[in-house]
Symmetry: D2
Subunit: 307 residues, 4 copies
Amino acid sequence: MKAIRHVKVKPRMDVSMLLEEFGNCSFTARRLHEAYSILVRMVDDPDCLKFLTVAGAAVPGGLRLVISDLLKRRLFDVLVTTGANLTHDFLEAIGEHHLRGSPYIDDQELREKGLSRIYDVYVKVESFTAMERKLRELLKSFPQRTMSGREFLSKLGEQLEDENSILRVCSERGIPIFCPALNDSILGLQVWMYTQTSGLKVDLFKDQAEILDLVWSSKKTGALILGGGVPKNYLNQALMTASKPLTYAVQITTDRPEYGGLSGATFEEAVSWGKVKPDAYKVTVPCDFTVALPILAAALIDKTSPS
Amino acid sequence: MKAIRHVKVKPRMDVSMLLEEFGNCSFTARRLHEAYSILVRMVDDPDCLKFLTVAGAAVPGGLRLVISDLLKRRLFDVLVTTGANLTHDFLEAIGEHHLRGSPYIDDQELREKGLSRIYDVYVKVESFTAMERKLRELLKSFPQRTMSGREFLSKLGEQLEDENSILRVCSERGIPIFCPALNDSILGLQVWMYTQTSGLKVDLFKDQAEILDLVWSSKKTGALILGGGVPKNYLNQALMTASKPLTYAVQITTDRPEYGGLSGATFEEAVSWGKVKPDAYKVTVPCDFTVALPILAAALIDKTSPS
Amino acid sequence: MKAIRHVKVKPRMDVSMLLEEFGNCSFTARRLHEAYSILVRMVDDPDCLKFLTVAGAAVPGGLRLVISDLLKRRLFDVLVTTGANLTHDFLEAIGEHHLRGSPYIDDQELREKGLSRIYDVYVKVESFTAMERKLRELLKSFPQRTMSGREFLSKLGEQLEDENSILRVCSERGIPIFCPALNDSILGLQVWMYTQTSGLKVDLFKDQAEILDLVWSSKKTGALILGGGVPKNYLNQALMTASKPLTYAVQITTDRPEYGGLSGATFEEAVSWGKVKPDAYKVTVPCDFTVALPILAAALIDKTSPS
Amino acid sequence: MKAIRHVKVKPRMDVSMLLEEFGNCSFTARRLHEAYSILVRMVDDPDCLKFLTVAGAAVPGGLRLVISDLLKRRLFDVLVTTGANLTHDFLEAIGEHHLRGSPYIDDQELREKGLSRIYDVYVKVESFTAMERKLRELLKSFPQRTMSGREFLSKLGEQLEDENSILRVCSERGIPIFCPALNDSILGLQVWMYTQTSGLKVDLFKDQAEILDLVWSSKKTGALILGGGVPKNYLNQALMTASKPLTYAVQITTDRPEYGGLSGATFEEAVSWGKVKPDAYKVTVPCDFTVALPILAAALIDKTSPS
């Protein structure tokens, strides 16, 4: 058994070095290093189909570039995410912005100013109007038929010019995006309004065959799961149905297991369902992903890019 | 300003009396009483369209009867929930069971025994097989056309004989169930498989008009939100789109606001979006709903039923 | 293995019945019932030395009467707590009050009004002045020598007239109170000021022999641990030193184990230290104690009192 | 109002640059940058008496070097901490080690092997025996009189040879250590045993005058509060008593405010008590300090050291 080696901080230390130090200590810091080690293994495994699932408010949280950068570098093969993240990605792709606000504010006053709050981030109501206008314009060129969510999002990404857009990066690189609850988002709502008077339809059940085909045809599977929710569950379900439990499993979540919700569920529990292999490389990092993901991404990029 | 009156526990005290005591003290206990007071007001308001949203694992958590009982008594007009809850409700409706297990267990061993774990609850894999068999049988009688999720679930509830089933109770009483991510559940998966060789289709975007019509035609809105997730977001979206912010707003969630996710978002934040009225009666209870909901339900039933 | 029996809520249901229902379901609710079962066993075991440890802000939280009632009924033999709880108990014993406030308030304004806030509770600054006055008066009758903290608190309790005071109840019934960080509280500070010009001294190291003697002379030990902190650690240390690990171990804490702090540490970890027996009856309830303790207390009182 | 600038991760990025990126995004990441900005201001303010308070298990957590390094660089003037941290610092100072273990282990087996567990860290029981031996040896040279805790710890640090020891670093540099619940630790227990047969006594009330003198004679106060507990409360009390509320206030804690405990209490609440100035620079970072502190320390060192 090895001794704890206390973290040693050095002048102008780089993030990779700090993460290396974390590997020899305890608690969440060591977990973060374990996550890194597992991701390095996963990324190096050519037989592994690599999933990134992203819940909640990662894009308003400031992680848009980190996510699109990881995807540009093809460190992941498939993205599963929420309508919220795609809504906010789209907003920025058309030149709208999120604003740095404060959580200590009179929310009624914000409402009067046309600002909507996500903890310490504000979005202008008019950004959503701009989004609707732009979306309606883009949708005109779409085929008048039923598409899966994945197909629809791929088509949508093609229309965007912003090279940092998650939607566009995925389209360009052929990375499928699954958004199982697309209907439950402002983007989904605007799509629904458009389809009321159009031949275009999005069928969210249609994605099922597509994700299953991907999983079935893989040799191994691995995932970085950011924050639980529908993206985590949808991946789980595909893995179970296709009998391809994860070989590499990393999750970053602030939820805890005792309340029984999936977002806090352990990978040990996942073994009982056949979502994760009994001998998988697996770790849960109990940390806000706005801190944890950039650290992991910086170190992964150092490790995988020719220096 | 009133003084704290310390909780006084008495022999054979009933739950309503305990909750009354909570109203004069502090922290989570007082919040629970506030929740009760708001729900009493809401239930008494004939102009209010009352939503119950239920996330995560409430049914495996043992809340199936509490929920179906609240619905039988028509304390709520609309249910928004997850595919997981409906899957587990269906399982029990056809005579399958959840088992009391332990979180301290070898999950690989569980898997070998055909048991899947949800924290301290086990489900038999064969229960899902039984469910698929039964579902295929029931679906034969369904119309060969495209239904909204709401319509489909109402039809499904009609076929069930278990009077405690949430699905059946809602069907019988005309309480619409919205399940925006039905595709992201075992029930949804089995429905999808069936529809591959059938004219029956479920269109989750179709529910949008139905929930909006309900909200538009209401004078006021109120909600008891159990645990966040897609159900909370879907309700929010309908309220915003229809410009009918909540007048009564109670949420029970163990998530915290600082990480930016919707499940932990405050009702203050919700005011900025127009999801909740600035002067709404509102409270957040930071407690596992397996404890909080039965307490609230017991007191609500005492208050509202003729004794 | 037994099936989950869903919680059934009935009109005018008493708290004991609700807790009984919790025993057949899942997650925190079932944990609460386990806590109850263990406490019933502990209370029935004549060979067991029973500890109650109370952290943080239980008295401002509104639990003063519940705690003093449990002690009056001799359900516990020893109390280990914080200076804060004793400070607030003393305040109320001399007729001062805690006020029901709001967490959403301008704290500078509160300060200007002479109110100090503990989440949603306010205390008047003048209450602390009244406390100092009364304390100085009472201390005049104290012997001019060095006392242990335990001895000092017992003497202090004797002087109080309020029959609901935790300090007085313990004095009257010969229940020792250990308060290892008494110096770290307003009560401790006022005692220190007084002792600057007096022969009275309080030696917090002196309690060590007293608690060790108690534990050494016991056959078995058991504890209800409310909220971690110094009280939990001090008990642990006595148990380890005296080689008397807990046979009955219940803790109610909202802290989680992953961050390494003692307040969230599991009883499994405690086994490795010899704080808890490997085969102890043990459970952790992840819930705010303002909700959990009154429920447990109500049911314990029903169980143990002649009806 | 400024737009969110999404975190941009670059190859061989240093920690300071990453933290700079955090300043333009959201949630916990932005909070971490705010903490850094406040600490930079505090460190640059020659009129400010700078406190570091360290709760719980920071030393077993692997932060011993980070803490002693910050103290070596005189970024803080006073340390307030727990007996646990000093116990574990002492252990390592005499050549004992903490071991990297696993939280998934049979704790009874650990006990049989003479290992005690702190989440994922093990300590050998024999390390505590070695500690006792060494301590008894060192205490022989101590004066046979009553010392304050601060004086005692300063004397103890003098005897240690390990240049990375927190105890020694503080002694050497004249940084006072306050450990208000020293009695509640293994170090305290061993000290108590020694003093049973010696003229040496430690009086924990005696520290009160010393910390108050320090605060009274300061122009301004500032603090980095790691994790709550007694160290946070003891500092608060000195600030209130001396009417010197914090001008710079940073806390890193995973506790939340709603349960009323001090460890999760906000700095807004602290304003009502006069612990923090209404216009103080203040921020709470909801993150495990094993991750947050090294990041802050790395950036602080870059900022303050001549490169």
